[in-house]
Protein backbone atom coordinates (compact mmCIF):
# COMPACT_ATOMS: atom_id res chain seq x y z
CA UNK A 1 0.00 0.00 0.00
CA UNK A 2 1.38 3.41 -0.94
CA UNK A 3 2.19 5.74 1.94
CA UNK A 4 2.14 8.98 -0.04
CA UNK A 5 -0.49 10.63 -2.25
CA UNK A 6 -0.23 9.84 -5.97
CA UNK A 7 -1.14 13.41 -6.96
CA UNK A 8 0.95 16.36 -5.84
CA UNK A 9 -0.46 19.14 -3.68
CA UNK A 10 1.29 21.75 -5.83
CA UNK A 11 0.56 24.85 -3.70
CA UNK A 12 1.61 23.10 -0.49
CA UNK A 13 4.83 21.72 -2.00
CA UNK A 14 5.77 25.08 -3.50
CA UNK A 15 4.98 26.90 -0.26
CA UNK A 16 7.28 24.54 1.68
CA UNK A 17 10.13 25.05 -0.78
CA UNK A 18 9.67 28.84 -0.92
CA UNK A 19 9.41 29.22 2.84
CA UNK A 20 12.63 27.22 3.31
CA UNK A 21 14.45 29.62 0.98
CA UNK A 22 15.18 26.97 -1.65
CA UNK A 23 16.24 28.49 -5.00
CA UNK A 24 14.53 26.65 -7.85
CA UNK A 25 12.81 27.09 -11.21
CA UNK A 26 9.46 25.39 -11.82
CA UNK A 27 9.45 23.42 -15.09
CA UNK A 28 7.08 20.83 -16.61
CA UNK A 29 3.33 20.67 -16.11
CA UNK A 30 3.23 22.92 -13.04
CA UNK A 31 4.98 25.65 -15.04
CA UNK A 32 2.35 25.25 -17.75
CA UNK A 33 -0.42 25.58 -15.15
CA UNK A 34 1.13 28.75 -13.70
CA UNK A 35 1.27 30.24 -17.21
CA UNK A 36 -2.47 29.56 -17.54
CA UNK A 37 -2.56 26.34 -19.57
CA UNK A 38 -5.75 24.41 -18.65
CA UNK A 39 -4.03 21.11 -17.90
CA UNK A 40 -3.47 18.91 -14.88
CA UNK A 41 -0.28 17.31 -13.63
CA UNK A 42 0.37 14.74 -10.95
CA UNK A 43 3.91 15.81 -10.03
CA UNK A 44 6.03 18.88 -9.45
CA UNK A 45 9.21 19.22 -11.54
CA UNK A 46 11.81 21.72 -10.42
CA UNK A 47 15.38 22.56 -11.41
CA UNK A 48 17.22 23.57 -8.26
CA UNK A 49 20.39 25.59 -7.83
CA UNK A 50 23.23 23.22 -6.99
CA UNK A 51 25.23 25.29 -4.53
CA UNK A 52 26.04 23.32 -1.34
CA UNK A 53 23.88 25.71 0.73
CA UNK A 54 20.86 25.38 -1.55
CA UNK A 55 21.21 21.61 -1.83
CA UNK A 56 21.26 21.47 1.99
CA UNK A 57 18.09 23.60 2.20
CA UNK A 58 16.34 21.41 -0.39
CA UNK A 59 17.42 18.20 1.29
CA UNK A 60 16.12 19.40 4.65
CA UNK A 61 12.67 20.08 3.16
CA UNK A 62 12.68 16.71 1.38
CA UNK A 63 13.50 14.83 4.55
CA UNK A 64 10.79 16.73 6.45
CA UNK A 65 8.39 15.57 3.72
CA UNK A 66 9.45 11.94 4.23
CA UNK A 67 10.84 11.82 0.66
CA UNK A 68 11.82 8.43 -0.73
CA UNK A 69 12.94 7.32 -4.19
CA UNK A 70 9.86 6.63 -6.30
CA UNK A 71 11.33 4.06 -8.67
CA UNK A 72 12.67 1.72 -6.02
CA UNK A 73 10.97 -1.53 -6.96
CA UNK A 74 12.28 -3.25 -3.84
CA UNK A 75 10.52 -0.54 -1.81
CA UNK A 76 13.49 -0.01 0.51
CA UNK A 77 12.50 3.55 1.38
CA UNK A 78 15.71 4.98 -0.03
CA UNK A 79 16.21 8.63 0.90
CA UNK A 80 17.59 11.33 -1.40
CA UNK A 81 21.11 12.49 -0.58
CA UNK A 82 23.06 15.72 -1.04
CA UNK A 83 25.28 13.91 -3.57
CA UNK A 84 22.26 13.01 -5.73
CA UNK A 85 20.92 16.57 -5.59
CA UNK A 86 24.31 18.04 -6.43
CA UNK A 87 24.79 15.74 -9.42
CA UNK A 88 23.46 15.95 -12.97
CA UNK A 89 20.51 13.58 -12.93
CA UNK A 90 16.81 13.60 -12.26
CA UNK A 91 15.62 12.55 -8.79
CA UNK A 92 12.08 11.11 -8.76
CA UNK A 93 10.66 11.30 -5.26
CA UNK A 94 7.52 10.34 -3.42
CA UNK A 95 6.71 12.76 -0.58
CA UNK A 96 3.96 13.28 1.97
CA UNK A 97 2.64 16.04 -0.34
CA UNK A 98 2.85 13.92 -3.49
CA UNK A 99 5.40 13.28 -6.23
CA UNK A 100 8.27 15.77 -6.50
CA UNK A 101 11.05 15.57 -9.09
CA UNK A 102 14.10 17.76 -8.45
CA UNK A 103 16.06 17.87 -11.72
CA UNK A 104 19.72 18.78 -11.47
CA UNK A 105 19.70 19.65 -15.19
CA UNK A 106 16.77 20.02 -17.57
CA UNK A 107 18.99 19.02 -20.48
CA UNK A 108 22.67 18.16 -20.60
CA UNK A 109 24.57 21.18 -19.29
CA UNK A 110 21.37 23.17 -18.67
CA UNK A 111 20.97 23.70 -14.96
CA UNK A 112 19.50 26.44 -12.79
CA UNK A 113 22.04 29.10 -13.76
CA UNK A 114 21.59 28.48 -17.48
CA UNK A 115 17.78 28.50 -17.18
CA UNK A 116 17.58 31.63 -15.05
CA UNK A 117 17.56 34.04 -18.06
CA UNK A 118 14.74 31.91 -19.56
CA UNK A 119 12.55 32.15 -16.46
CA UNK A 120 10.01 34.61 -15.11
CA UNK A 121 9.30 35.58 -11.56
CA UNK A 122 5.67 35.39 -10.46
CA UNK A 123 4.71 37.12 -7.22
CA UNK A 124 1.40 36.06 -5.72
CA UNK A 125 0.03 35.75 -2.19
CA UNK A 126 3.28 37.08 -0.76
CA UNK A 127 5.52 34.44 -2.31
CA UNK A 128 7.79 34.66 -5.34
CA UNK A 129 7.91 31.74 -7.73
CA UNK A 130 10.46 31.42 -10.53
CA UNK A 131 8.97 29.66 -13.55
CA UNK A 132 10.46 28.57 -16.87
CA UNK A 133 9.07 30.98 -19.48
CA UNK A 134 6.38 29.67 -21.79
CA UNK A 135 8.32 29.85 -25.09
CA UNK A 136 11.18 27.88 -23.52
CA UNK A 137 8.75 25.37 -22.04
CA UNK A 138 7.26 24.84 -25.52
CA UNK A 139 10.73 24.46 -27.04
CA UNK A 140 11.69 21.91 -24.36
CA UNK A 141 8.49 19.87 -24.84
CA UNK A 142 8.96 19.92 -28.63
CA UNK A 143 12.57 18.76 -28.29
CA UNK A 144 11.79 15.94 -25.85
CA UNK A 145 9.11 14.69 -28.22
CA UNK A 146 7.53 12.04 -25.94
CA UNK A 147 3.84 11.41 -26.73
CA UNK A 148 2.71 13.03 -23.47
CA UNK A 149 4.79 16.13 -24.26
CA UNK A 150 3.55 16.30 -27.85
CA UNK A 151 -0.05 16.09 -26.62
CA UNK A 152 0.52 19.13 -24.44
CA UNK A 153 2.08 21.26 -27.20
CA UNK A 154 -1.11 22.52 -28.89
CA UNK A 155 -2.48 23.70 -25.52
CA UNK A 156 0.81 25.44 -24.65
CA UNK A 157 1.02 27.21 -28.01
CA UNK A 158 -2.64 28.29 -27.77
CA UNK A 159 -1.95 29.57 -24.24
CA UNK A 160 1.04 31.56 -25.50
CA UNK A 161 -1.10 33.05 -28.27
CA UNK A 162 -3.90 34.01 -25.85
CA UNK A 163 -1.42 35.56 -23.40
CA UNK A 164 0.14 37.52 -26.27
CA UNK A 165 -3.30 38.86 -27.23
CA UNK A 166 -3.83 39.97 -23.62
CA UNK A 167 -0.45 41.68 -23.62
CA UNK A 168 1.22 39.20 -21.24
Amino acid sequence: MQRHPSAADLPALLARLCDAGVEFIIVGGAAAVIHGAPITTSDLDIVHRRTPENVARLLEVLLQLDATMRYDLANRGLRPTAEMLAGRGQVNLSTSLGPLDPLCELDEGTGYDELLPRSESVVDEGRTLRVLDLPTLIAVKAKVGRPKDRMMLPILVATLEERSKLGG
Partner: protein, 75 residues
Protein backbone atom coordinates in the same frame (compact mmCIF):
# COMPACT_ATOMS: atom_id res chain seq x y z
CA UNK B 1 -4.48 37.72 0.61
CA UNK B 2 -4.64 39.99 -2.40
CA UNK B 3 -2.90 38.69 -5.48
CA UNK B 4 0.20 40.65 -6.49
CA UNK B 5 0.72 39.17 -9.90
CA UNK B 6 3.88 40.43 -11.58
CA UNK B 7 4.46 38.29 -14.61
CA UNK B 8 7.51 39.75 -16.30
CA UNK B 9 7.65 39.72 -20.10
CA UNK B 10 10.09 37.34 -21.73
CA UNK B 11 13.22 38.79 -23.34
CA UNK B 12 11.75 38.52 -26.87
CA UNK B 13 8.27 39.62 -27.95
CA UNK B 14 5.96 36.68 -27.24
CA UNK B 15 4.01 36.97 -30.52
CA UNK B 16 7.07 36.62 -32.73
CA UNK B 17 8.33 33.77 -30.57
CA UNK B 18 4.98 32.02 -30.93
CA UNK B 19 5.06 32.23 -34.73
CA UNK B 20 8.61 30.89 -35.01
CA UNK B 21 7.89 28.11 -32.52
CA UNK B 22 4.71 27.10 -34.37
CA UNK B 23 6.53 27.07 -37.71
CA UNK B 24 8.99 24.53 -36.32
CA UNK B 25 6.26 22.15 -35.07
CA UNK B 26 5.06 19.27 -37.22
CA UNK B 27 1.81 19.71 -39.21
CA UNK B 28 -0.25 17.42 -36.92
CA UNK B 29 0.51 19.57 -33.89
CA UNK B 30 -0.04 22.80 -35.82
CA UNK B 31 -3.48 21.49 -36.87
CA UNK B 32 -4.33 20.53 -33.28
CA UNK B 33 -3.68 24.09 -32.07
CA UNK B 34 -6.88 25.13 -33.89
CA UNK B 35 -8.89 22.57 -31.89
CA UNK B 36 -7.87 23.87 -28.47
CA UNK B 37 -10.79 25.26 -26.47
CA UNK B 38 -9.56 28.80 -25.84
CA UNK B 39 -12.37 29.59 -23.40
CA UNK B 40 -10.66 27.24 -20.91
CA UNK B 41 -7.42 29.18 -21.30
CA UNK B 42 -9.19 32.49 -20.75
CA UNK B 43 -10.92 31.13 -17.64
CA UNK B 44 -7.56 29.94 -16.32
CA UNK B 45 -5.94 33.31 -17.05
CA UNK B 46 -8.65 35.00 -14.97
CA UNK B 47 -7.33 33.18 -11.90
CA UNK B 48 -4.19 34.10 -9.97
CA UNK B 49 -1.18 31.77 -10.40
CA UNK B 50 -1.68 30.16 -6.97
CA UNK B 51 -5.37 29.60 -7.70
CA UNK B 52 -4.45 27.96 -11.02
CA UNK B 53 -2.20 25.61 -9.04
CA UNK B 54 -4.99 24.93 -6.51
CA UNK B 55 -7.50 24.14 -9.27
CA UNK B 56 -5.07 21.80 -11.07
CA UNK B 57 -4.18 20.01 -7.83
CA UNK B 58 -7.80 19.59 -6.76
CA UNK B 59 -8.66 18.14 -10.19
CA UNK B 60 -5.74 15.71 -10.11
CA UNK B 61 -6.45 14.65 -6.52
CA UNK B 62 -10.10 14.00 -7.40
CA UNK B 63 -9.08 11.95 -10.45
CA UNK B 64 -6.64 9.97 -8.28
CA UNK B 65 -9.44 9.19 -5.77
CA UNK B 66 -11.75 8.01 -8.56
CA UNK B 67 -8.96 5.90 -10.06
CA UNK B 68 -8.16 4.33 -6.66
CA UNK B 69 -11.86 3.62 -6.01
CA UNK B 70 -12.24 2.03 -9.45
CA UNK B 71 -9.17 -0.15 -9.02
CA UNK B 72 -10.29 -1.32 -5.55
CA UNK B 73 -13.69 -2.33 -7.03
CA UNK B 74 -11.95 -4.40 -9.72
CA UNK B 75 -10.01 -6.41 -7.12
Amino acid sequence: MESLLQEQPTSLPAASQASSLIAELDPEIRAAILDVDRTLILLSLQQSPWNRLRSASRMMQTLAKIRDAASSQRR
